[in-house]
Subunit: 449 residues, 4 copies
């Protein structure tokens, strides 16, 4: 008997799924226009009650059925080609826009509409098999979000211990760079020598979109532990001269690909410069998350080939081989790297050089392979410092062999740095690193000589 | 010499105009991406300093220079026609979107961006000569505004005497249906038996987008003076059973064509129904702004032809001719209409009938010619009442010969009424008016029998 | 019959009055303790419904019936005199406190309690015949208010055009120094080069207690019109170096005698100094409201006796007699004073001297007779300037013969000035006025030589 | 040498102590009036820097030196005795008020003044040896606080997960009835079927004065664990019919003796009744904190004498002696009580009876000995239920042998219950308990028969 009931339930549920087709058509119809908000509400509620199978079916239905009218579009394209005047252009433009976009805009008219659409895109992106059947829906959502989540509609809020627990709890949840270990950890990150800023969108109440955590320090550091330790004494504001951006997190998966971080960092620089007229430095303390993987992959001809490793490590050959009791420095290096912390004194210098080489020389399809580096450099930041064993936490050792990077934001040079990086792949480097650069360059390209 | 100085100034100013081209190109370029907000700010400031000549030139520049790349678009259209697959569709879609839209989105990233773009569209629409040279810019602004000013991003706020003077002052400024004569008049409109609601957009601080004024009454009235008189006693809330929407105003010319009124009225109905569980009636007290003009134009074959007038007025022939000492009732009617208030006893019934005929029978290109009627009927409201001499104020007499109309919003029938009206031009009418309708119909179409 | 009904109504009303005795006793009783808030609410409502006769009776009842228990107090006083130990002191202290105070504190527990008690004191003070029968009630209210309206419980708020109309309307109502002529006048007083600050008390929502209006100016002025004229151009903030306090108003009559003004001015000086680091001067532009009356009263031996007038005016004898075609300068002066504005050129200097003499030499019971002068000088301000015809408005001419005074607040000298003034009647005077002071002193006291 | 430095430091610090005498005299003086706020600020800062020895000295100084002028008071008392008229009364009243009160009022004028005064009283009460030297200061602070913390000046705020972490953290700190075990525990106490309300005072920002925690339940329970368990499912609001006040906490020791709890509970009853029209029951779930101690003290002739115990337990003699293998039920009872949870089945009934007897019959100086019982009963609540083993947490077993009590607030009977309890010691009891009452009474007073 339960088999029968299950079946019945499935049928009812699938009918509910059919209802969605009806509801969506109705919402787009002439008749539905008078009760958009109510219909949109019903679509939102129905969606919330769907299981994952129904959702996938729903996405496919939206992707296939609310596309541009092929006939109309053909005619418009043909007419435009025949006579490319303003009217035909505008008719073509209208014909190419899928009705799906208007449908999504109408769903947005109900309370929690934006929230639901962002959730839909999250679910969509979560689907393990990326189906081309649903990419039109993804494209339309992305198109709308780029417009709706324009910087002009975001508001910056300072997050502090005065903020509601509801929002603070979300920071704990969303922080993925340096995990927040409960409320006492969060509390330390919000004390007088720390700052946290987030972007919010008016349609997503109590929901941070992206946030950045900043440590106010006396001088730059590459040592993460000094920033994160709950027991670090609180610095008084008169001693502060450096702002260290040590964590930046996008919160909503549904907004993937919509750029906020660039705007957030620059806005926070402006805020902090206003609050602390004596602030000299705006830097990050960042991971190099793909460094370990790249270093261990000696088969990538664009990466750390044995020959390059050998050249890069040659300056440290004596100490490495002595420490590891091995003949070749490369072999010695990798042996020592199996216990990086124990061998930190010997490894610090060679690791820094390799990280530097990775950042400045390694390219994949002409691009900087590390996403964090790529983000800050394309924002116009310069490469300020490389710190061996700056992050001794397990995840830091695993992904970056403990390396931390300081990128520095110098307002006056952002535009030029950005352009050079984006158009020519050039990286601006601090003076302190310039000699090292020559060495690295030579070592990397020795075979080309 | 002043001539020389003027000339120099002009040159400098025109160069400033050229700067705008540079700034806009820069903002759209790779290089400009890193400093979008700063560039956008400069464009906004430069625009604010422009005179009207420069502005017009700026609009033309934007309209002509930031359009889709013709070659790319041609190729995309041709490819799509050849092989209308998903990829080609998406390439065509990308090719048809003018870079102008991205430019406008980037201008929006700076503070006051939205405000400036809305102002630009206002100025654009204000231009006396509608130039086709600027319609692409208008189309793009309109496209963006439809998306940005989606109902889901608007917040409803109740306006009261507790609201800031800054906002209240704007109500005085924007009210154009029934002018607010200074602060005491406004104060009466915000007392305990009145309500005022407005939509706001988060990016336009302290700026109402649209607002509606409501009188809470005991029973429906068509008499405007009872609502507007500053000395009308305040009704206690236990006696309230009818909400009369007596004025609705769009505030920002730059948002013309973006529909808010529909959403506002329906949301306010929901709010008032929640506050007053005993509220039975949600009606408007509206003008019939094109009635006078239509009545006096006896040459329009779709309107009040002499034959129709004669038929419509035949029931009142005796009283009209007696009062005006004229033989024909039509002639008598128009004579009396020269002093409508003095002759209100005689004119009330015939004017009501004519107004009714105008609403239900007169059509221009198949459409109801009066914009207010068209708005409420297409929202799904029904025609509830017609009141002769409901508005004796000069503008009321001039435009509507004193006629006021009650449209009624009955939540359950909105969707059906809307559909019938929009698709078939049918108007839902209150039972009380149904007999009159037959008379009017017969009189209007007598010649067709 | 109506006579009978009236009678009945009176009886009912008077019984309601009796109820108040019952309610008050009940509220103070053991039994009433459990429902203090409800009982207090009933007392508040009953009071609100009382007419003035009932109120007066109520005040008398409270004054006579809720006084200390005479027997207990006698015993406590006798015991204390016999053995003045700590216990007897504390018993005496308890015995002398009238139960009325506890009653008033309990009335205060209900919503609008504070508002009602402040209103009661206002009504009390308004009573034309000051009856000793009600002074105990007044004394107790005053005692409580001094404690409740302690500076520590007041909050300073900046009032601007962003403030609610509800509060702004009250400013218009309460302003009594320089009447606010409607909303446009108020608007000018709240623009970018004006400031307005008020104290609020948390228990009196939306009710300013006291407020001060400040003009931000470039240099000090004694000319009121430049400050009040609605069309005066708005000064940009970079040109501001002087803050002129031109109007300060207590709002609630019921709080008469509770000092706020002193605290308000000093707090506002602190606020403005923080906002404008370059602000050099904090001055008032004040009336001299009893000057006219004093000047015309030549029979007051402590005031402007004919001999003193003659001596004070002797320097101006020639111009006065020439202008008035009179022999004696005093006679000439008073004749010209009948049309002060017409004769302003001749009168300006002598009027200034007389005003100066009035401020610095005239004393009533050893005190400065002008209340505004007394207020600022006892706050520690110095006398900075005297301006003839600074206020040409009718009330300014009538009360002060157009004289305006600048008192200046110099933070560092406030304490010393205050002490000298309060203990020795000494007035600190600006250097510019010091020579004039010698002349005036000599003229005033010539007969003593 | 360090000895010398220490000495010097002590001298300097003690001089700082002397400064306080000077500062306080200065603040009360004529001269100090002009700079009250600044002087008060300095006193506050100086106090904050004091160690406990200095503080004690400071309290003694305030207590001895700012008392009423003995001579003036003697004269006023004598005059009043001679002629007890209104004037002499008012002079006596003025003479008996210690200048200390005015001093404290002036200290309150500075920012953080109220906070400091409340802290002073806390420190005062903390002093291990209660010195009569400081009781005058305590009396004056208490006198002022009774006036300043009048119910009319307190605001009720609902505390939720939306509240700032700063305030929530304080709840965790101040909760002393049922400890909050970190943020997840707190979170459960703020979910949809829980409420928390607190009183705040406007001068103590972000500082709750007193708060109450309420569980919304379906039916009354005496079982604490069901309320406190973090994993208890959240009840939907349609099922709620009973509000259970399970914890009420005063936050500021410095306000000891100022009554808030009474007002808070009644206000919260009003709030919940408005939110849930179907709420039938407003009850507490309270401890009986002195029950264990009273039960074990068989030597108190007003308490559980062996004879009374024997009589009260006689009904349960059989089961008790069987379970404990002892002859006498009293002896058996106490043996079983050594492991109360293990023997809960046998102990439940006898423990309930003893708790009931303790509440209704045991008296100390004619008063109910349990403070929680005394609080609720004198608020006018009735005794609704007694629950054996309602609280199995260690502190519950230790203090109350696991007993929990339900007191019920029935709005209509509060006043009468309060009066009977306060004047005659009578306790209102639920009908369900009335038969038990007769048994208990008889058993307790058997020897009087």
């Amino acid at each position: 008997m339960p088999g029968f009931l299950d079946k019945l339930l499935k049928i009812l549920q699938s009918r509910r799924g059919k209802d969605m087709r009806f509801l969506c058509r109705h919402l787009l119809s002439q008749r539905g226009e008078a009760s958009q908000t109510a219909l949109a509400q019903e679509i939102i509620n129905t969606y919330a009650a769907m299981d994952s199978t129904q959702r996938t079916r729903f996405y496919k239905m939206l992707s296939s059925e609310f596309s541009p009218d092929t006939k109309v579009l053909h005619r418009a394209a043909a007419n435009y080609l025949e006579d490319p005047n303003e009217t035909n252009l505008s008719l073509l433009s209208a014909a190419v826009e899928p009705p799906r976009q208007e449908l999504l805009r109408r769903i947005n008219t109900a309370p929690r509409g934006t929230e639901t659409l962002v959730a839909i895109r999250k679910h969509l992106l979560d689907l393990s098999v990326k189906s081309p059947d649903i990419s039109p829906l993804d494209a339309d959502l992305r198109h709308l979000f780029r417009s709706w989540f324009n910087r002009g509609f975001l508001t910056l809020r300072s997050i502090s211990w005065q903020t509601s627990a509801l929002i603070l709890e979300k920071l704990i949840h969303y922080e993925s760079v340096h995990e927040i270990n409960g409320w006492p950890d969060l509390r330390r990150r919000l004390q007088a020598d720390r700052r946290c800023f987030a972007f919010f969108h008016p349609a997503l109440i109590d929901e941070p979109i992206i946030f950045v955590e900043v440590a106010l320090a006396n001088g730059l550091t590459g040592d993460l532990e000094r920033l994160l330790d709950v027991n670090t004494p609180v610095l008084t504001s008169d001693k502060v001269n450096t702002a260290i951006f040590y964590s930046i997190n996008n919160c909503l998966d549904g907004l993937r690909g919509i750029p906020f971080g660039n705007f957030l960092i620059k806005q926070v620089v402006v805020e902090l410069a206003a609050e602390f007229p004596n602030m000299k430095n705006f830097c990050t303390l960042s991971p190099l998350p793909r460094f370990s993987k790249a270093l261990l992959d000696t088969h990538d001809e664009h990466g750390f080939t044995p020959r390059r490793l050998s050249a890069l490590l040659s300056d440290y050959a004596a100490t490495l081989t002595a420490a590891a009791r091995r003949r070749g420095p490369v072999e010695a290096f990798f042996l020592l790297l199996e216990q990086p912390v124990a061998n930190r004194d010997v490894l610090a210098a060679p690791l820094s050089r390799l990280a530097f080489a990775y950042l400045t020389e390694a390219r994949q399809n002409g691009k900087v392979p590390d996403p964090v580096a790529s983000f800050h450099l394309s924002n116009g930041a310069r490469l300020e410092g490389i710190n061996a064993f700056g992050n001794l936490r397990p995840y830091g050792l695993k992904a970056s062999f403990g390396i931390t990077i300081n990128y520095r934001y110098v307002p006056d040079e952002l535009e030029e740095n950005h352009e050079r990086f984006v158009t020519a792949g050039q990286i601006r480097i601090s003076d302190a690193l310039s000699r090292e650069r020559e060495i690295v360059k030579k070592a990397w390209h020795q075979d080309q000589a």
